[in-house]
């Protein structure tokens, strides 16, 4: 319980830090991008001006601490301002459309790559003498060095452009009626290639971590004891080796997840997949600062929550953590 509360406290605090970064970033930037932006835009409607003011604290009479309090209050009330590029749509509305796509794409591909990568890592350590194991490790280490977006481009070029197996971009067939069977099929069809990009690019990270953990665990005395006891190999591999080796993997979820989410965002940009990543790309190009800010907040919050969940999973997997002994 103490562990749970500590992790919950950490979650809330990191969320708070993310919020604060979000507040101070535009205010600390040199060269005042907001002023430049204001100069460029003519006839700005008043709502947009307010939104700009909220985002940058422009010609605000309030002192910084008060602005900060107002910002926190607005955030809690879900008031994030209005998008520049999709004026007069509130940025929260823009997010509402984009989030399901990202959650589905990234959620599914991250879980898949975790399962596949971890499984392959277990096997690669268990049968580390074999050629196949070294080959797998080698191939995925190579793939891991690819930039995500470039790997996405390569897949598009060969599988979508040359072989025409998949659509080149987007998330669904525009001509299909939303919600119809044909539409859902098109969603699947459009999702495979970006999901494949994220999956294949990130498997290597899980695989290598799990393999190294497994190799370390396999050298422990309790594995030797399990062998000596004459336990079936499958049981040793799963309950004695993998069960212990996966703990650092789940704990290390934080680091890996931050990378994979980053990679996933760029993958969306390459595939024009209408999720949060692509939205961020458009926001950056349109200098839509309010949208950028909420996207950053959303991504940070999701990664933090995912980490919190991973911490809770560790609590169930590791009795030592449950007792606060570790």
């Amino acid at each position: 319980m103490k562990y749970f509360l500590r992790k919950l406290g950490m979650l809330l605090f990191t969320l708070f830090v993310a919020l604060t970064i979000n507040f101070f970033l535009p205010r600390l930037m040199p060269g005042d991008p907001a002023q430049a932006l204001l100069g460029k835009m003519e006839n700005i409607p008043p709502e947009q001006l307010d939104s700009l003011r909220a985002a940058f604290g422009l010609d605000s009479q309030e002192p910084l601490p008060l602005q900060y309090v107002h910002y926190l209050g607005n955030t809690l009330r879900g008031n994030f301002g209005v998008s520049f590029s999709r004026f007069p749509m509130p940025v929260a509305e823009v997010m509402r459309i984009a989030i399901p796509w990202t959650l589905a794409l990234m959620g599914i591909s991250t879980i898949l790559s975790f399962i596949i990568g971890t499984g392959l890592g277990i096997l690669a350590a268990w049968r580390r003498e074999t050629r196949l194991a070294s080959l797998t490790v080698g191939v995925f280490s190579f793939i891991r060095s690819f930039p995500y977006f470039w790997f996405g481009l390569v897949l598009i070029y060969f599988l979508a452009f040359k072989l025409r197996l998949f659509p080149i971009g987007g998330a669904y067939a525009v001509e299909a009626t939303r919600g119809s069977a044909a539409w859902w099929l098109s969603v699947l069809d459009h999702g495979i290639l970006p999901a494949l990009t994220i999956c294949i690019s990130s498997i290597g990270a899980w695989l290598l971590t799990m393999r190294n953990n497994m190799i370390n665990v396999l050298a422990e005395d309790y594995i030797l004891v399990a062998m000596a006891k004459g336990l079936p190999l499958r049981r040793i591999r799963s309950l004695y080796a993998a069960r212990n080796a996966i703990l650092p993997s789940v704990t290390g979820f934080a680091m890996s997840l931050a990378f994979i989410v980053g990679g996933g965002l760029v993958t969306e940009m390459v595939f024009s997949y209408p999720g949060v990543g692509y939205m961020l790309y458009q926001a950056v190009n349109a200098k839509d600062y309010p949208l950028m800010q909420i996207i950053f907040l959303f991504i940070a919050a999701s990664v933090l929550v995912a980490n919190f969940i991973a911490d809770i999973v560790v609590m169930f997997l590791d009795p030592r953590v449950r007792d606060g002994a570790k």
């Binding site: 005395d221 309790y222 030797l224 004891v225 006891k229 004459g230 049981r235 309950l239 007792d323």
Partner: protein, 323 residues
Amino acid sequence: MDGNTMLELIDLRAGYDTVRGFVRAVDGVNLRLKSGEFLGIAGESGCGKSTLAYAIMGLLRDQARVESGAILFKGRDLVRASAEEWKQLRWTGMAMVFQSAMNALNPVLSVGEQLVDAIHAHRKVSEAEARAMAVEMLALVDINGDRLKSYPHQLSGGMRQRVMIAMALILKPDLLVMDEPTTALDVVVQRSIIEKIAELREKLGFSVIFITHDLSLLVEISDTLAVMYAGKVCEYGPARGLFDGPLHPYSRGLMNSFPSLTGPITRMGGIEGRTPELLALPPGCRFAPRCPEAVERCREAEPALLPAGADRSCACWLHGETR
């Protein structure tokens, strides 16, 4: 060999491959263990006693292997046993207790699960029966049955080691190999574990090979003692005799040394210098460079382990006159 012999090692050589060559950690060891006997093996770290224990259990791993010789367990040569034979023999015929129970117990499984899966690996019994066996065994080592649900980290160091002993004895093996089972424990707990082992041996009648660097402890509890130095047995005989008068200068040194208070970095009080590197052994007697009594002959030729009085043997040129 007579029917009373439990284990016999014949000219056993074992070691491990390194980049610099094969390191022979056990170099031609001959030992015999009678049924019900308590054999103590003493020596500093690096003398090959642990390699010997793992070789007997068939648990040498990584680069380690038996090079030559025989391990006869109840007349059957284990060196040539298949993996399947080993699997059936281990834990039912011979079991092992490791130095650190913390490392030997799986941290994420409860004590009960780990005891029960040893039973299930060898006996076709129901879950309830297996649990009953586990509770019974824990009772023998003075641990309450509701500890089955406990995880290793929830137990004290002494309790963990007693759980390990219960786990080793759960299938009533004939031979128990113990590799420094008390080194990681404090003196009081160490004492209680030793007494527990003696009591259980009375009750269950298994043989014991007890390995430690603490010779003074061994002379109290063993029937027979073997002192190892640099891969070889340098003195062998009844514990009583060795206690009254160690023959080998190394044994004398070990007897005089005291365990250090800082734990694993034990400085041998009685003996100057360090154990030789196995890849760069000195000519002649392996102990000669550190031996306070060494004469010229000791540096020229290696003494063999030869009988030295009733039931005893010793590998030292200085005992030439007794031969």
